[in-house]
Symmetry: C2
Subunit: 473 residues, 2 copies
């Protein structure tokens, strides 16, 4: 027995050596950079940092020397003079509307929706429009550092298909609305289509299918309740616009004697996994309801400014520990880009100027909203939003080799106030590189841009001359 026991000991020692010895544990990728900003609960920033990545997830983050001592990697990436951060999380948009970018600006939300966007959608939006619009949007998002986005639009199965093809992560919901939509004649048909969508993508590694009633003011109570029931049945999120404009609030108060939040709550619509977009006109009682229901908020500063919707009470939300993420919203007259680096800058500056307090929302808090805060608002924070062992490898590298990037005194200040979407060099989602040195690896950029211009010609040919030299002075 003794020789056998010694043999076993030797085998065990050999295994331990292979695992922990000079060669280290095998991982797929080691990725190094000047800084790793983890956004973990301690907000650890690692100088001269490295990440060990295997399959779809992060194995460990630490100083370069530590990671090098513990792991050997099949692939070695060096971002160099750069910051690696969690991928940015866009908690509210309508991606395919990118084909309408700038078609109708400088208008009030209701006029913009009723006179321009709904008619333009009725006339132009079909499955191929959504395919090319989504391709354009995810290309723009990935190149500016977004790894997860949240969508409410039409032909959402095509959105899912194109999101997976591009390699981004998506929380995607077919818009359910009380008028004929481009793909469904009735909300009932949209609900049935959504159920099929929930079944198809229920266990997808990249797609979280959602139920997305447009808003309280465009849906019947019956539809809203059915949406909640469906979402809970499949344990998927419900996405909805909420208190975006004063008009929405005034109308609800006049018709129902309740705020939109209180009305939704009394219908039971907030009982479950919910992400509400905008929340500009939420009052203290509304915030208490959202806090109690665990609703996540998608704050959209560009959109709220551009449509003059107002300023959301973000500081209050954060004080109440309501999870808040950032969203670009669609780019047709309410932004007009899918650039999360701008949203975080705007979010911080807008809270400062509107509260009169330059410390109202700091750079560190704004960057948290774009990452772990967004993950919490989507209730996906066990998977994404920070660099921690076991979480999905959704990561971006932001280079520091442009004049706006130097000198660097504080990484959060630089990320929020000085670095740009165009400084994002590399993007990884679910362990797979989709952008390398500012080139999208999964999409044909020239083809997408050419198709977008073709769409413009067919959508707006008769308008072009007029819009080129529009009426405003």
């Amino acid at each position: 027995m003794l020789p056998t026991f010694r043999k076993l000991l030797l085998v065990a020692a050999a295994i331990m050596l292979a695992a922990c010895g000079s060669h280290g544990t095998a991982v797929d990728t080691i990725w190094t950079a000047r800084y790793v900003v983890t956004m973990d609960p301690q907000r650890t920033v690692i100088e001269d940092g490295a990440l060990a990545i295997s399959g779809d997830h992060i194995v460990e983050a630490g100083p370069r020397a530590t990671i090098d001592a513990k792991y050997t990697a099949a692939q070695r990436l060096d971002a160099g003079d750069a910051i690696i951060t969690p991928g940015l999380i866009n908690t509210h948009t309508h991606a395919a509307m990118s084909l309408f970018r700038g078609i109708a600006d400088d208008l009030k939300l209701q006029e913009w929706l009723d006179k321009y966007i709904f008619p333009a959608e009725a006339k132009n939006v079909d499955r191929e429009f959504v395919r090319w619009g989504t391709r354009l949007a995810v290309l723009e998002m990935a190149l500016s550092g977004t790894t997860t986005y949240t969508d409410m639009y039409y032909f959402e199965d095509t959105v899912a298909e194109e999101t997976k093809r591009a390699g981004l992560r998506g929380v995607l919901g077919e818009t359910i609305i009380g008028m004929p939509s481009p793909d469904y004649k009735t909300p009932q048909a949209a609900l049935a289509g959504t159920e099929a969508f929930l079944r198809t993508y229920g266990n997808d590694p990249l797609i979280v299918p959602a139920v997305a009633p447009h808003s309280i003011y465009t849906n019947s109570d019956e539809t809203l309740v059915a949406c909640r029931r469906l979402a809970n049945q499949y344990q998927k999120p419900l996405l909805i616009h909420l208190s975006e404009t004063k008009k929405e609030n005034d109308d609800a108060l006049s018709a129902r004697k309740k705020t939109p939040t209180a009305a939704l709550d009394s219908l039971g619509v907030l009982n479950g996994w919910t992400v509400a977009a905008h929340g500009v006109w939420l009052d203290d009682a509304d915030l208490a309801i959202l806090k109690a229901r665990g609703t996540g908020l998608a704050h959209c500063p560009s959109s709220n400014m551009m449509l003059a919707s107002g300023v959301a009470p973000v500081v209050k939300m954060l004080m109440l520990d309501i999870p808040v993420g950032l969203g670009t919203d669609g780019v047709a007259g309410s932004n007009n880009d899918h650039n999360m680096m701008e949203e975080m800058d705007l979010a911080a500056k807008l809270q400062k100027v509107s509260t009169g307090d330059p410390q109202a929302l700091t750079a560190k808090e704004a960057f948290a909203m774009a990452t772990i805060g967004g993950a919490k608002a989507l209730r996906l924070d066990k998977l994404i939003g920070s660099i921690e062992p076991g979480k999905r490898a959704d990561l971006i590298a932001i280079r520091l080799d442009q004049p706006n990037a130097v000198p660097l005194y504080n990484v959060y200040s630089q990320l929020v106030y000085a670095l740009k979407g165009a400084d994002v060099s590399d993007v990884m989602v679910n362990g797979k590189l989709i952008v390398r040195e500012r080139k999208m690896l999964t999409l044909n950029q020239p083809e997408i841009l050419a198709r977008a211009e073709e769409y413009r010609k067919s959508i707006a040919a008769p308008l072009t001359r007029k819009t080129l030299a529009s009426k405003t002075p």
Copy 2:
């Protein structure tokens, strides 16, 4: 006589042929692009456009076919799928502070100035600091489309030297302030230095030297009056901060029973060529004074938001036809970049949300503020700010080959809301290309970035660990 007369006729005909015939008038450069946005009084936008440029000035802009028929050029540039516009005009900054980028953010102006910026300046700012800080700033400005900038700082002769070396246009004023500054112990010494500076650069093709009292609250009345006298003697502009914060207004009202504007006016300080920065707290009576005196305003939306100074009454200023330009302000805690493409976007969105009117400031008006409006605010609109025959060839090309640039329905909407500083591909100042395909031709970028990082190390070495993981939650 007849043969001689015929000879003369023949010679005249030959000259006319050479000038207007198939070969066309000789110019230095023809520059073509998909669009030329002129910002002339008619706001002409030329599709498939071209510019003829000779020496330091624009000869003509028009459709490509027209320009090709009329001119032949030694050099031919094709910006391709791009927009050529007038160069952007930054009407207020402190360029060399770029070496303090992000050193102290999220603070109130007075605390930020007194506790961080003034001490950091006293300790670190010398001629070499200003040289490298200016180099970094003009590099960043040029690469994001700025061709003219307005500066108030120290060692302004070095600022002028470096601005000329880089090839930008500058309106440059030595800061005159009632405390010992990095280069002058007293305001009297600064005034004497300014007079020498005015003499040196009085007729420079790129530099407009200016007299720059910091503000009413940092100077004695005597100094302010002396500044005005000096500026008028040399017929150069006076640059000053004005009504930036509520505190500045409250202090003036309590000490003088007058607003800062009324107080300056009663001293005669506004009688002449003046550019006032910020103007956040101007009231209707102040605006009437500024209108009467022909004072130009530098609106700084990023700075006013970040320092929570407030929202300037820009819509009122424009209604009164007060010339308003845009400024980035310095980048040490009040922006933090020199990116005019962001200022125009912010200017439009901030007026919309603060007035509740999405049409408060349109894309076309915001782009005008960044170009011809800035030129008018600086009283340089006979030279720069639009593409018109005889004006200086200060021009930029903005490429349309990135996903955020397409589709393009309206050029102004795209310029203000969708295009970025990083989309600027080429920059010409005074007829000379200084940026070509995003490479600065006149400066050594790697050397400047390396020196900026060295400055950071010496300025903030003991702070680095703390600022990397700052105290804010």
